[in-house]
């Protein structure tokens, strides 16, 4: 993992284009399913660098595979949003 746990949520939020670009985030068991305003502002490489195991973009929905730590990351994201 290239980003320490504590900074991971912030790095993922940056990869998603920042707070302004996020409409909502649905935490799943191993994924964060995110509805973004502008998919062009999503940086898949940055998300992978932040520890994502996969990034799937379909329209405005961005699925970030984060593994079993999805819960923790979601709580951290809730703080940041």
């Amino acid at each position: 993992m290239t980003v320490p746990d504590a900074a991971r949520a912030a790095a993922i939020l940056d990869g998603l284009g920042g707070v302004d670009n996020v409409d909502e985030i649905d935490p799943c068991t191993t994924r964060l399913r995110t509805l973004v305003k502008d998919p062009a502002r999503v940086d898949a490489a940055a998300l992978r660098h932040a520890g994502a195991y996969g990034v799937m973009v379909s329209g405005r929905v961005v699925q970030v595979v984060v593994g079993p730590h999805a819960d923790t990351i979601a709580s951290d994201l809730a703080e940041l949003l």
Partner: protein
């Protein structure tokens, strides 16, 4: 994918409309009987009893029985009659392998290795395992059975770098076992499930008769942060169903700014 020609038993009934309707009635009656009244191995009413009960021809009764046999809910035994087929194996998708799953059900797992080699990773596999295309992977194709009955075809790829000697003494009995032994115990993964139709090759290997429905899974297995295996499996649709435990969805996270804005418009 092209759909192979269906065997006769799987074909829709080539009957006039009225007979088609009668065939549906017989079929519905039998399906209800199997679902609610009978147990595995029980005999179904004879063809004669059914023709009398519904006032239809023997051919119509046979079509109803054929279509249920094609769905795998009953088996016909020459000269003996028609019986309720064994229930499907319902399995919860967990991070276990086929052998572990089958053993837990008190059945004996069987394996026939179809292919095993160390090869350069195809692009698609490299993507799934976060490897560079062409990095060496162990590729293993196996036919899996339970108590001698073919159940699934598995195709797996593992990064050779993690287990350089994996294939030295043949294919290990358990791929997860080999990963554990190498210090990469699987800790999480993701399955993608889809419905499909067996290719002629798959139908032959799985000894499928009647229905050609398959349940296909694609799985990525991780040991903590490391992708350790990508695998595809094709399960016989007449032998398997999947149980998915459901939990309450976690609340959706909405940015504070949007929440505040909502608050103002709502109140």
């Amino acid at each position: 994918m092209t759909i192979p020609a269906a065997p006769a038993a799987d074909a829709p009934p080539a009957t006039p409309h009225r007979a088609g309707h009668k065939y549906q009635a017989v079929r519905a009656y039998l399906a209800d009987l199997i679902e609610n009244e009978l147990a595995e191995g029980d005999a179904l009413p004879s063809e004669r009893a059914l023709t009398d009960r519904f006032g239809v021809s023997r051919m119509t009764v046979r079509q109803a029985l054929d279509s249920l046999a094609a769905d795998g809910v009953l088996v016909r035994e020459q000269g003996r009659g028609t019986f309720v087929a064994p229930a499907r194996v319902d399995f919860e998708m967990r991070l276990t392998t086929f052998g572990e799953d089958v053993r837990r059900r008190g059945m004996a797992p069987g394996t026939r290795v179809l292919d095993a080699a160390t090869v350069p990773a195809p692009t698609r596999v490299a993507e799934q395992l976060a490897l560079e295309p062409g990095e060496p992977v162990h590729e293993v194709r196996r036919l899996r059975s339970a108590d001698g009955v073919p159940m699934s075809l598995e195709h797996a790829w593992l990064p050779a770098r993690l287990l350089p000697a994996m294939l030295d003494d043949g294919v290990p009995e358990s791929l997860y076992g080999a990963l554990r032994a190498a210090g990469y115990a699987p800790t999480w993964g993701e399955d993608t499930i889809s419905a499909s139709v067996a290719t002629p090759d798959e139908a032959t290997l799985l000894q499928m008769q009647g229905s050609l429905a398959l349940l296909r899974t694609r799985r990525r297995t991780y040991a903590e942060d490391t992708a350790v295996m990508y695998s595809q499996a094709s399960y016989r649709g007449d032998r398997y169903s999947v149980v998915v435990p459901l939990r309450e969805a976690k609340p959706t996270i909405v940015p504070r700014a949007a929440r505040d804005a909502d608050g103002r418009t709502d109140r």
